[in-house]
């Protein structure tokens, strides 16, 4: 661990600058409406420029873990909480992803929000998000991470309910808030356990310090961290908020709910690798959560008609892949992170093109009302296809390099569990190909199904250029990331070396072939089911139970409503009743008693000096009497 020097000492600006601009945009009021988007979009670009310089500065170091002490927050004896930043390969990857993809999406949002009254507010929140997200990944202690963690939760809440006058958006915001709350409790308990057993929350002390975590403590911390990660990353069983979060503006879905914030859970687990190295149980739990969510997201994605919801479920399942990877343990962490970065590219591309479609179709997002759009929106179509190829793992596109490695690693785990996980990951790849083909075909191919008052058109350049950039990254980004083992080697100081060589359960070539066949089957299935015959405008009824289940998110919402919401409502109603009748009764009764007494007693304050003097005399006699009584009792 080295101390920051030179350009590295200015890393705090990464957080301070966007926070400042967010403050200015939100406080300045209407007079900033004219220039707010320029400032808002310029900030992440500047940050990206700085991040690149910082990257090369860190690259030049022998020891690439740089600590930047900011200030001592609570310097009491025996209890020391310092605020500081940790610049290391892992956090650098996130900083570059957040500022890079963030810049593109900010620029896109300038055009996307051009006709929105709340554009200034939007950019204020968006910059705030960048600030707290960077704090989350740059923090050098769990406590500082927690500040960022709560900060992004707030940003997410504010941006989901951005159109707060729409009931559905407000509800979605609340849902995200509640689900995140459950997760955050987990994270805060983990931090409390660290305080109790290690006496500190800095990574240096907790993960690499002198205090060796016992297995029990590590398991407890691991499970609580996992709960936190599940809440933030939309993983089973806290996944239901993420699809609803698509009520926010599309740039929000792209940046916060696809590329960056929802991957914070993966970051948390990768960062806490030493904890999970100690506890096998916690590690297994991560794998199980990842596998379940992966399949869950794929199945639900097949049943949605809302394009953004399809993409949201796809995010859920892709993060499932990442959880699976980081849960597999040493040697696979880097692969999970690589998939995370690649996913950031292609999912952002998909969302931005979906936003472009939505923009062109008067904010309509029902795929059954699209069709044939590739003729009128060629650029959007092109970008979507790039993202499509990347996510299904078409040869040489990003997913091909990153996702296939996870499938391979799952199989390499060995034993029955290895086979089960491998097959699940493989099935996920097939299902992904199926639902993404469905989405592509229903949106861009077939005959036009939109109404006459809609005139789809290509969006402005401020939207198309970032889309094209992300589309290109989706195609070639994966190769660039793993070229010569680049990113794996880079990440080694943070998460340990990547296991590349060695005996594979199934040889790489065979596995690649199998994967491609499965994917091809998925694509074929999607095309046969939706590409060859006309798509009905309304949802068909009388379908198989599996389809019904997929449409209803495999009853996760129904389950939550039955098991959590209803009893919760009963409980709160009972409490309200008790509060009204019991507590309030006592309180208002008391208040009424005092009030009545006061009104009656007030008459004793007559205003006559003679009666005041009399009362004083009475008081004096009483005082004398009491003193004597006490003395001679």
């Amino acid at each position: 661990m080295t101390t920051a020097h030179g350009i590295q000492s200015a890393a705090w600006l990464l957080i301070a600058l966007p926070l400042l601009s967010a403050g200015v945009l939100l406080v300045a009021g209407r007079r900033a409406d004219k220039w707010a988007h320029v400032v808002g979009a310029a900030v992440p670009v500047v940050l990206f420029g700085y991040a690149v310089m910082l990257f090369f500065s860190v690259k030049g170091e022998g020891n690439r873990e740089i600590n930047l002490h900011l200030y001592s927050w609570i310097p009491v004896a025996g209890f020391k909480v310092d605020a500081g930043l940790l610049i290391d390969p892992l956090s650098m990857v996130f900083v570059l992803l957040i500022t890079g993809v963030g810049s593109l999406i900010h620029i896109y949002a300038v055009g996307y929000m051009a006709h929105d009254e709340g554009r200034r507010r939007f950019f204020g929140y968006f910059n705030y998000f960048i600030a707290v997200m960077l704090l989350l990944v740059l923090a050098n202690s769990y406590l500082a991470l927690y500040v960022g963690w709560e900060g992004v939760g707030l940003a997410s809440y504010l941006l989901i309910s951005f159109y707060y006058s729409r009931n559905i958006a407000a509800t979605a915001g609340n849902k995200a808030f509640f689900a995140n709350r459950v997760g955050d409790v987990g994270l805060s308990i983990a931090i409390m356990i660290m305080f109790a057993y290690v006496g500190s929350t800095s990574y240096a002390d907790v993960l690499y310090g002198d205090t060796q975590l016992t297995k029990g403590v590590a398991t407890a911390i691991g499970f609580m961290l996992l709960l936190g990660a599940c809440g933030k990353s939309g993983q089973f069983p806290l996944q239901t908020w993420l699809p609803d979060a698509m009520e926010g503006p599309t740039p929000v879905s792209a940046l916060i709910h696809a590329a960056t914030m929802v991957t914070a859970g993966v970051y948390l687990i990768a960062r806490s690798a030493p904890v999970f190295d100690v506890s096998q149980a916690a590690r297994t739990a991560v794998v199980v959560v990842g596998a379940i969510t992966l399949l869950y997201g794929c199945v639900c994605g097949c049943g949605q008609d809302d394009l953004k919801r399809v993409l949201a479920y796809s995010t859920v399942s892709q993060i499932g892949y990442m959880f699976l990877a980081v849960g597999l343990g040493p040697g696979v962490y880097a692969i999970g992170i690589i998939h995370l970065v690649g996913h950031g590219f292609f999912k952002a591309a998909l969302f931005l093109s979906a936003g472009s479609v939505m923009h062109a179709m008067n904010d309509r997002i029902d795929m059954r009302r699209f069709g044939g759009l590739f003729r009128v929106m060629p650029i959007t179509y092109g970008v979507f296809v790039c993202g499509y190829l990347a996510i299904i793992g078409f040869p040489l596109a990003t997913g091909f390099w990153t996702k296939d490695k996870i499938i391979e690693a799952a199989l390499d785990k060995g034993g029955t569990s290895g086979w089960v996980l491998g097959v699940v990951a493989l099935a996920g790849a097939g299902l992904t190909a199926f639902y993404m083909t469905r989405a592509l075909v229903m949106t861009f191919h077939g005959e036009r199904r939109w109404e006459d008052d809609v005139h789809p058109h290509e969006a402005s350049r401020s939207m198309t250029y970032p889309m094209i950039a992300l589309g290109v990254l989706s195609l070639v980004g994966g190769y660039l990331l793993i070229f010569g083992g680049g990113l794996q080697h880079w990440l080694t100081p943070s998460v340990g070396p990547s296991v590349e060589e060695g005996v594979h359960t199934v040889s790489t070539l065979v596995l690649t072939a199998i994967t491609l066949v499965v994917v091809a089957l998925g694509v074929l299935g999607g095309w046969v089911a939706f590409g060859r015959k006309p798509v009905p405008i309304s949802q068909p009824v009388g379908v198989s139970p599996v389809t019904t289940a997929a449409r209803r998110n495999i009853y996760a919402d129904a389950f939550n409503e039955m098991v959590l919401q209803r009893p919760g409502q009963w409980l709160s109603r009972a409490l309200v009743y008790f509060d009204n009748r019991g507590v309030d009764g006592a309180v208002t009764g008391l208040a009424a008693g005092f009030g009545g007494g006061s009104a009656r007693l007030k008459r004793t304050q007559t205003g006559f000096v003679r009666s005041y003097a009399l009362s004083m005399l009475g008081g004096t006699i009483a005082v004398v009497a009491v003193l004597l009584a006490v003395r001679f009792q």
């Binding site: 208040a591 005092f594 009030g595 007494g597 006061s598 009104a599 007693l601 007030k602 304050q605 205003g607 000096v609 009666s611 005041y612 003097a613 009362s615 004083m616 009475g618 008081g619 004096t620 009483a622 005082v623 004398v624 009491v626 003193l627 004597l628 006490v630 003395r631």
Partner: protein
């Protein structure tokens, strides 16, 4: 005969006087004399400026000397005066708050002239009175009067000799009686208040003096340490001691505005000019508590078991009266008056502890309460209508719409009085209750109940300001001049800062918690 007289006089020695220890008092008295001279010699047009200068400089110089005296612990003038930690802390608090009151009195931009009448002696409602009311003239004697009162307040809490304490009591009271009658608006109410205060004050002083005489009969001395020694040693009947103490207490409790000797408070607070009310509710209260502290801790330490029940009783009575009567008041000045009665009860709770913690918590409480109440009265001066200050509660409804800033400032002050965390009031209540908990847990519980009751009427004002519709033809918010702005800002900032970082002042109060016997 003449030889006898000569022998008598020969035995009297001039006591040694430690002038530096008494410097603060001497400076304030000197400034007051200078003020009287200025009143006689300076032309009327310049008197305001000159008097203000003399007063502020005098008080500030006294404050500096008090600060320089820190750590002093000695008795002087044959043991009559004790300059010690607690005494100096009280003196410092009185001086700081007196400077703030002077700044409030000096306010000339919200009302023509100031809150002080142009000429107090003119018959109310006469043509001259009406003519003078429109001029910017002011009865500048208020400044030397205030200085005399402050000098009394500086002697009062450091007197170890009851006779001297009585003199100090009169020195501080007489100017206050006059000052209460100096209001520019509602002059009849103001003069009535002054007369009431004078009559009842004289009544209370008589009790004090009678108690003093009885104690002399018991201990053959009016020095507090001598009374303590007598009460520890004497086998004789102690009826005189306790009746004397009771009567002494009546005089002191009256000054501190503690029930059942509080009845003057609402009327006088309402009638007096608001800056003078601010002065009385902070400085007088602090000085009175300093004296009570000294009498009970130095003179009657040994008989605590006998007087503790009576302190319990008056504390509860005070909290109850302040809490319950305050609920249905409709005039803000009266609400603050009842609030001061309730706060006096809370301070007595800390007094019961009879430990160092008890002393320091009382010192901290009186200081923080002084700042909050001073600033609150300052805010009252700003909300005005055609008749002067708009103090009726109904006129304050919806104030936040007109001036969110003034409403927020008032809210902070009321929160502090209610004892909501992150304000100084919370820390003060907490330290007082903690100090008393070991010896008087039931009293602390009762105090908690009454602080909840009192919180209700503070919060009622907050709700009214923020959530009620403003009345038609409501009051206007005056823009304060520099002096009020300084005093208000200081009061509010201290209220917030002592809520967030109370440690330095708590440490200071703990260090100052010594009383020399």
């Amino acid at each position: 005969m003449s030889r006898l007289l000569m022998a008598e006089t020969a035995t009297i020695h001039a006591p040694s006087v430690s002038y530096h220890a008494l410097a603060p008092i001497l400076i304030v008295l000197g400034a007051a004399m200078l003020g009287v001279l200025a009143e006689a010699l300076v032309p009327r047009a310049e008197r305001y400026t000159v008097q203000l200068g003399i007063t502020v400089v005098g008080l500030a110089a006294a404050l500096v000397t008090v600060a320089l005296l820190h750590g002093t612990s000695e008795t002087t003038v044959a043991g009559a005066l004790a300059v010690d930690g607690a005494g100096l802390f009280i003196q410092g608090s009185v001086l700081v708050l007196a400077i703030m009151s002077v700044l409030l009195i000096a306010e000339r931009s919200v009302d023509v002239g100031s809150a002080i009448v142009a000429s107090a002696a003119v018959v109310v409602g006469s043509p001259t009175d009406r003519r003078l009311a429109r001029t910017g003239l002011i009865q500048t004697e208020v400044f030397p009067l205030l200085l005399f009162a402050v000098s009394g307040m500086l002697i009062f809490p450091i007197s170890n000799n009851l006779l001297l304490m009585f003199v100090a009591l009169e020195v501080l009271s007489l100017p206050l009686y006059l000052m209460a009658g100096l209001s520019r608006r509602r002059r009849l109410l103001s003069q009535e208040a002054a007369l009431k205060y004078f009559l009842l004050g004289a009544f209370a002083s008589a009790f004090f003096l009678y108690g003093l005489a009885l104690l002399y009969g018991y201990a053959n001395s009016v020095d507090l340490p001598a009374i303590l020694k007598a009460s520890q040693a004497s086998p004789k009947s102690d009826v005189l001691l306790f009746v004397g103490l009771a009567l002494l207490l009546v005089g002191l409790l009256f000054k501190a505005g503690i029930a059942p000797f509080h009845s003057w408070t609402p009327d006088v607070y309402q009638g007096a000019p608001t800056p003078v009310t601010a002065f009385m509710s902070s400085c007088t209260k602090i000085a009175a508590f300093g004296a009570i502290l000294r009498v009970l801790y130095v003179g009657f330490n040994a008989t605590a078991w006998n007087w503790r029940p009576i302190v319990w009783a008056v504390a509860i009575a005070s909290m109850a009266v302040g809490g319950i009567f305050g609920l249905t008041q409709t005039d803000l000045k009266r609400v603050l008056a009842y609030s001061s009665i309730a706060h006096a009860g809370f301070i007595l709770v800390g007094l019961v502890a009879l430990t160092k913690d008890g002393i320091s918590s009382v010192l901290f409480y009186v200081l923080t309460y002084g700042f909050s109440t001073m600033a609150a009265f300052g805010v009252l001066m700003l909300v005005r209508d055609a008749d002067g200050e708009a103090t009726h509660l109904a006129q304050w409804s919806g104030l936040a719409r007109k001036s969110p800033f003034v409403a927020s400032v008032m809210t902070v002050l009321l929160m502090s009085m209610a004892g909501i965390p992150l304000t100084s009031g919370f820390i003060a209540k907490f330290s007082v209750f903690r100090a008393a908990f070991h010896v008087a847990a039931p009293l602390v519980v009762i105090a908690l109940v009454f602080s909840a009751v009192a919180a209700f009427y503070y919060l009622r004002i907050v709700v009214l300001m923020f959530f009620a519709e403003p009345p038609e033809n409501g009051p206007t918010i005056a823009i304060p001049g520099w002096s009020t702005a300084v005093a208000l800002t200081f009061g509010v900032v201290v209220t917030i800062v002592l809520g967030l970082f109370p440690q330095p002042i708590l440490d200071l109060a703990a260090k100052a918690a010594t009383l020399v016997g």
